[in-house]
């Protein structure tokens, strides 16, 4: 079939590259998926279920909250999924982009909060009302996802330039 059949390599002749020592230390996909699922459930409890419960508890007592339960779920669910997925895909090239995606969702959530920077709370039957502005704190908090995005970008670049190199250090002996 091939004109230069002698020099062409048949698929069956593709040499099997043995895994490197680092690759052999990478946990199997099943283990990573299990750990990711566990992480997802834990994150779901702390980032979605508990906050939504607190929001509902306060709303039931006519106390306003800075964000609604719907917004909390809207940002919380993707964030939990992405953070859990990040652990699963850590040995692959998707690690950097997933890290960036998780940090981007966090950034969007913080920016949404900054758009309504003052939380005014008043308790029915109590003559005291309180308003707190937290813009400065949220701006400082934005440093966290911004640094994470930068880290993810560097990792993405590293994975495309030197694939697999970081496995030796991510999964040390």
């Amino acid at each position: 079939m091939s004109a230069g059949g002698a020099s062409a390599m048949e698929p069956s002749e593709t040499p099997v590259v043995p895994p490197t020592a680092a690759e052999s230390r990478v946990p199997p996909l099943g283990v990573r998926l299990g750990a990711g699922a566990l992480k997802f459930v834990l994150l779901l409890v702390f980032l979605v279920v508990l906050p939504v419960g607190i929001i509902d508890f306060l709303h039931a007592r006519s106390i306003s909250t800075p964000i609604s339960a719907e917004v909390e779920v809207l940002f919380g669910l993707p964030l939990c999924a992405l953070i859990a997925a990040r652990g699963v895909v850590r040995p692959t090239r998707a690690y950097g982009p997933v890290t960036i995606a998780a940090a981007t969702v966090t950034t969007l959530f913080l920016l949404y909060m900054i758009l309504q920077p003052t939380y005014q709370v008043s308790v029915p039957q109590v003559p005291i009302s309180l308003a707190v502005t937290y813009t400065s704190f949220l701006l400082l908090l934005l440093l966290v996802p911004i640094l994470t995005i930068a880290s993810g970008a560097v990792t993405t670049f590293e994975d495309f330039r030197d694939p697999g190199v970081r496995l030796e250090f991510d999964y040390p002996p």
């Binding site: 309180l130 704190f137 908090l141 440093l143 993810g152 030197d162 030796e168």
Partner: protein, 274 residues
């Protein structure tokens, strides 16, 4: 053999170290901010537990025919962070929502673990016209709005609003000037004029009431001074004969009263005759 060829750990590539450094920096910032937020919330809880209620308001007559309401608010800061630029503003409104007076105090810093007294004073003009005049002659509930503005824990501008209904006892509650004859006469005549009120304020009143009987056109027809010495909660009712000038009609007129005490002159709302 291993002594001849010791295991040497390869140094991670620069990109790997950069990514790892950024991750650690991110984690460090997150931990610092979480610790800061935790301590700020703890301080807020301690602060809320010690939020004082403003003390009762006392009053005195001011030099320019006004009533000065004075009070003290003791604010403690048992938290871990200072309260910067803490400013207390007091607004007094009557029961219909009209603003009677407002005070602004200079901003102060309350260091962590300290407490301070904030004296607030509101000067309310109480001329014969205007919303403040009713404070002299009518018991009522006042709305006292206390605003506290500050920056807490360096990063959080906070505004606290406390609304209170305060019972106000008027110093000349139910003030009446009543002519002893009806219909109001035209002078020359001598008319018994009764002045009555109750001192529902917290302080006794001692001084002199100068009562002027005026015609409908505002012309003074006669006047008399009523000595006043009433204890807090006491009633006052004194009748004196007042000479009405010749040709001066009190029909449709009014009694204009001023209270003079310790060099201060307070104008009371006029009392119309039938």
């Amino acid at each position: 053999m291993s002594a001849l060829f010791p295991i040497v750990h390869r140094r991670p590539p620069r990109l790997y170290r950069t990514a790892r450094g950024l991750r650690w920096a991110s984690l460090a910032v997150l931990i610092v901010l979480i610790v800061f937020l935790g301590t700020a919330i703890y301080s807020t809880v301690r602060l809320v537990q010690s939020i004082p209620q403003p003390g009762p308001l006392s009053y005195e007559f001011g030099e320019n025919g006004s009533i000065e309401l004075n009070g003290t608010i003791r604010v403690g800061n048992p938290g871990l962070y200072p309260i910067d630029d803490f400013q207390v503003t007091l607004r007094v409104l009557n029961s219909t929502g009209e603003l009677l007076g407002q005070s602004d105090e200079l901003a102060r810093t309350l260091p962590a673990g300290s407490s301070s007294n904030y004296s607030v004073g509101v000067e309310i003009p109480v001329g014969p016209s205007g919303a403040g005049g009713s404070l002299l002659v009518a018991d009522q509930y006042l709305v006292v709005d206390t605003w506290g503005n500050a920056t807490f824990a360096y990063l959080f501008p906070v505004s606290i609003h406390l609304a209170q209904n305060v019972s106000w006892g008027a110093p000349f509650a139910g003030y009446r000037v009543t002519l002893g004859v009806a219909p109001p006469p035209t002078g020359p005549a001598t008319v018994p004029v009764t002045v009555s009120f109750a001192d529902n304020a917290q302080l006794p009143e001692a001084g002199e009431l100068e009562v002027t009987l005026e015609s409908a056109r505002g012309v003074s027809c006669g006047a008399s001074d009523y000595p006043v010495d009433v204890t807090s909660g006491g009633a006052y009712s004194v009748t004196q004969d007042v000479a009405v000038a010749s040709g001066c009609s009190l029909a449709g007129g009014s009694a204009v009263s001023t209270f003079v005490t310790q060099g201060l002159t307070i104008s009371l709302p006029p009392e119309a005759f039938p």
